[in-house]
C-alpha cells in the first residue's frame, strides 16, 4: 500500500461519501493522511484528492462491512459518523482496514487504537443522548411541545423514537442549535430537517405556572444537610443547565429564557 505523504481526501460530508473514501483508498492502494469534509478550508500545503460520491461504490462498501467484519462493526461505523470525534473519517478508515484484514475479531483487539477511539466516541454520543432524554424541558406553545438543545453530538436521531413513544398524541419540536437541525413529530410520524433558527414564544400564564411549580418542587426535594455540589455537577454537567427550567428563574417573565 502506498502511503503518500500529505495526501488528503476531501469528501462531501455524507455517510455515502465516507464509504467512497474507503473505496478509493482500496482502489488506489493508498492511505491518506487526513480526510476532510466540505467545511474544512483548503490547505495548499497538502496534495488534495476530491472524492466524488458514487452510490454504487458506497453500496459495495456498505454491503461488505457486515459480510466481512460483522453487524457490530457496521453499527459502530454508523454511530461513529454522528459523533464529535475530530478525525472520525480517518479513524473509521483505519478501523475498516484492520477489520477487512482480521475479520470480526478486530472488535476485541483491546490494544487497537482505532477501535478504542471509535468506541469511546460512540459511548459519548449515546450517553449524551441518554442524558438529554431526561434533561430536555418542553414548553407548551399553542399545544405544541417545543424545546431547544445544544448538544455536542448529533443526537436527534437517537431521541426520535423515545419521544414519539412517550408522547404519541402530541406535536413536538426539538431544535438542536449546535447542528441547526430540528426534530419534528406529529402523530405517528417524525422527520429531522435543517432549520436556521428557532426562538420559542414567551410563556403564557399556564406555562409560567407549571415552570414555577417545578422550581418549587426542585427546591423542596433537596435534603439541605446533604448538599453536594460536586456530585450534582458530576451527574448533570453545567453546560445543560442553561436549557433547564429549574435553573432559569431570573428571566422567567421575558422571552429570552431558554425553553
Amino acid at each position: 500500500m502506498h502511503t503518500a505523504a500529505n495526501l488528503t481526501y476531501r469528501y462531501d460530508g455524507t455517510f455515502a461519501g465516507l464509504l467512497c473514501c474507503v473505496f478509493e483508498s482500496y482502489a488506489a492502494h493508498e492511505m491518506p493522511e487526513a480526510i476532510w469534509g466540505p467545511d474544512m478550508p483548503e490547505q495548499s500545503l497538502f496534495e488534495e484528492k476530491e472524492i466524488l460520491t458514487d452510490n454504487r461504490h458506497a453500496e459495495r462498501v456498505e454491503r461488505s462491512i457486515p459480510a466481512k467484519i460483522g453487524n457490530e462493526a457496521e453499527e459502530l461505523v454508523r454511530l461513529a459518523f454522528f459523533t464529535t470525534l475530530p478525525d472520525k473519517e480517518l479513524t473509521v478508515l483505519r478501523f475498516l482496514r484492520q477489520g477487512y484484514h482480521y475479520g470480526a475479531s478486530v472488535l476485541d483487539f483491546a490494544g487497537e487504537d482505532s477501535v478504542h477511539r471509535l468506541r469511546e466516541a460512540v459511548k459519548h454520543l449515546l450517553s449524551e443522548a441518554h442524558l438529554l432524554k431526561g434533561f430536555i424541558r418542553f414548553s407548551v406553545q399553542h399545544n405544541v411541545l417545543v424545546t431547544t438543545i445544544g448538544p455536542k453530538n448529533y443526537v436527534l436521531p437517537f431521541l426520535a423514537r423515545h419521544f414519539s413513544e412517550r408522547y404519541p398524541e402530541e406535536h413536538i419540536l426539538i431544535y438542536d442549535e449546535t447542528h441547526r437541525m430540528a426534530l419534528i413529530y406529529r402523530p405517528y410520524e417524525y422527520g429531522i430537517i435543517p432549520m436556521d433558527a428557532f426562538r420559542a414564544a414567551p410563556p403564557d400564564d399556564e406555562e409560567r405556572k407549571f415552570r414555577s411549580l417545578w422550581q418549587t418542587f426542585y427546591d423542596a426535594i433537596e435534603i439541605k444537610p446533604r448538599h453536594n455540589e460536586k456530585c450534582r455537577r458530576n451527574f448533570m454537567p453545567k453546560r445543560y443547565w442553561s436549557y433547564m427550567t429549574e435553573f432559569s428563574r431570573a428571566c422567567s417573565k421575558n422571552s429570552v429564557m431558554h425553553v
Partner: protein, 442 residues
C-alpha cells in the same frame, strides 16, 4: 391552600425516602395515551444534594396518626398539614410529565384516618392517571402497612413498583422508635406482594394479556444511624430480604435528625453519609460480585473499615488469593480484583480470546489500572514501574478524601493508640513484604 403551598409541603415531607429510581420495566404508550418507561431508568434532574430526580416524589398527605420518633410527619410534630385531592395530584403529574420534568410519580402517604382510607385515596389517584388519562409512565407506590389485602392488590395492578419500608433494621428498634408499627404488619404486605409478583410473572408466560402486578418488582428502605444496629447486622438483614422476598432493591437512608428526642441522635449529628455509602458498596458486592455477607463482615468485625471500600479491604485481607493472571483468571475471580467491575470483567474475558492482554490494553478496556496493578499479573508480569511505597499504595487504593481522613486519624493513633481494636491497619511494612513475596520476579 393553593397548589404551590401543597406541593412545597408534601414534597418537603417526602424527600427523606431514598428510592427514586424509575427502572425495571420497558413499555410505551398505546395510541391515545401518554407515557413510556425504560428499563434502564431515566434521571430528569439532580437535586442540590446530588440525588437523582426521576419521579415526582410526594405524599398524598402529611397528616399521620402514627407517632414514629424519627419521622417529620409524626402526629406529635407541630407542622402545617395538608393533603392533595386525587384529581389535583393526577393533573399535576400529567402536566409535569408532559413537559418532560419527570418520569412518573412516586406516591407515599401519611396515614390519614385509617390505613384503608389512605390506601383508597392513593388508588383513586392512580386510577385517574391510568384509566382516565391513559398514563403509561412509571408509578412507584407505597403500600400502607395495615391496609386490607384487596386494596394492596388493586394498588399493585395500577403501579409499576410497590414498596413497603421496613424503617428500622431490627424489631427492637422499631418497637422503640415506632411504637404503633410492628414488624409483622410490615412484613405481611411484603410477603403478599412477593407472592402476587411471582404469580403474575408465571401467568404472563401462559397468557400474554394477563394483568401485570407491580412489573418492576418491590423494594424497601431502612433508616441508618437512628438506631444502634451494626453494619454486619444490617447487611445480614439485607441479604435475608433479598433471599426471602425477592426484592429488587434495598435502600439505605442516612438518618437526618429532624427532631429532638431522647431516643435519637442529637440535632447536630451530621447524617452518616459514609456509612450509607459503604452499605451501598457492600450491597453491590452482594448482588453483582458474588460476595457473601460473611466475607465482607463478621461477628468479630461488625463495622466497615472507615477509610477503605469493602472490596479493597477484602482484597488486602486475602493476599493469598492474589496476584491473579489476567489472561487466565475466571470471571468470578476477576470480579474480586479492586479496579475491575462487572463490565470490565466481561470485556477482559471477551478481549483475551482475540489476543493476550497487556497492561496497556487493560486501561483501554476500562480497568482502573491504578488500583488493579497491585493484584494482577499480565502475561506473568507485574506492571513495570509499580511503586510499593506505603503512601503510593494508599494513594492508589483510597480516594483523596478517604486518604486525608485516614492520615489525620493515623496521626492521632500514633499518639493515643486509639486504633488498638480497629479492624486492620493498612499495609504495615510486614504486610507489604508479604505482598511482594507472592509476586513473581520480573
Amino acid at each position: 391552600m393553593d397548589v404551590f403551598e401543597k406541593l412545597r409541603i408534601l414534597s418537603d415531607a417526602a424527600k427523606y425516602d431514598a428510592a427514586c429510581t424509575s427502572s425495571g420495566v420497558d413499555k410505551k404508550a398505546s395510541r391515545g395515551g401518554m407515557g413510556s418507561a425504560a428499563a434502564c431508568g431515566i434521571c430528569h434532574s439532580f437535586a442540590g444534594d446530588g440525588r437523582c430526580i426521576s419521579l415526582l416524589k410526594v405524599l398524598m398527605t402529611n397528616v399521620c396518626v402514627y407517632d414514629c420518633a424519627y419521622c417529620v410527619n409524626r402526629v406529635s410534630h407541630d407542622t402545617l398539614r395538608t393533603a392533595f385531592t386525587p384529581r389535583e395530584l393526577a393533573d399535576l403529574t400529567m402536566q409535569f410529565y408532559r413537559r418532560n420534568y419527570i418520569e412518573g410519580l412516586f406516591l407515599s402517604s401519611g396515614v390519614m384516618g385509617s390505613a384503608d382510607a389512605t390506601c383508597e385515596r392513593m388508588i383513586e389517584t392512580l386510577r385517574i392517571l391510568r384509566e382516565e388519562y391513559r398514563f403509561a409512565g412509571y408509578i412507584h407506590a407505597k403500600a400502607i402497612p395495615g391496609a386490607n389485602q384487596a386494596l394492596v392488590a388493586r394498588l399493585g395492578l395500577l403501579a409499576d413498583r410497590l414498596s413497603v419500608n421496613i424503617e428500622m433494621p431490627s424489631g427492637a428498634s422499631l418497637a422503640k422508635l415506632a411504637p404503633d408499627k410492628t414488624k409483622k404488619a410490615i412484613l405481611a404486605p411484603m410477603g403478599y406482594m412477593q407472592q402476587r409478583i411471582a404469580e403474575s410473572s408465571h401467568d404472563l408466560v401462559r397468557y400474554r394479556h394477563a394483568p401485570r402486578f407491580a412489573p418492576a418488582g418491590q423494594s424497601t428502605q431502612m433508616i441508618i444511624g437512628a438506631s444502634p444496629e451494626t453494619d454486619y447486622h444490617i447487611l445480614k438483614l439485607t441479604a435475608g430480604l433479598y433471599a426471602r422476598y425477592d426484592l429488587k432493591r434495598v435502600f439505605f437512608s442516612a438518618y437526618v435528625p429532624v427532631t429532638e428526642s431522647p431516643l435519637l441522635p442529637s440535632l447536630e449529628t451530621p447524617p452518616p453519609l459514609w456509612r450509607e455509602h459503604r452499605l451501598y458498596q457492600a450491597d453491590w458486592l452482594l448482588r453483582f460480585y458474588g460476595f457473601t455477607v460473611d466475607e465482607i463482615l463478621d461477628e468479630q468485625h461488625p463495622g466497615f473499615h472507615p477509610y477503605m471500600d469493602p472490596k479493597c479491604h477484602w482484597a488486602l485481607q486475602h493476599k493469598d488469593f492474589f496476584p491473579l493472571e489476567v489472561n487466565r483468571a475466571s470471571f468470578e475471580e476477576l470480579l474480586r480484583v479492586p479496579g475491575i467491575g462487572v463490565k470490565s470483567a466481561w470485556r477482559i474475558i471477551k478481549a483475551r480470546r482475540a489476543c493476550a492482554l497487556t497492561w496497556d490494553s487493560l486501561g483501554k478496556i476500562g480497568v482502573v489500572v491504578k488500583r488493579a496493578q497491585y493484584f494482577l499479573l499480565c502475561r506473568g508480569r507485574q506492571r513495570s514501574g509499580i511503586v510499593w511505597e506505603r503512601s503510593a499504595v494508599l494513594a492508589a487504593l483510597m480516594s483523596a478524601r478517604e486518604r486525608a481522613l485516614y492520615e489525620a486519624q493515623e496521626g492521632e493513633v500514633r499518639q493515643m493508640s486509639l486504633f488498638a481494636g480497629a479492624t486492620v491497619p493498612l499495609l504495615t511494612s510486614k504486610e507489604r513484604r508479604e505482598l511482594q513475596c507472592i509476586q513473581l520476579p520480573i
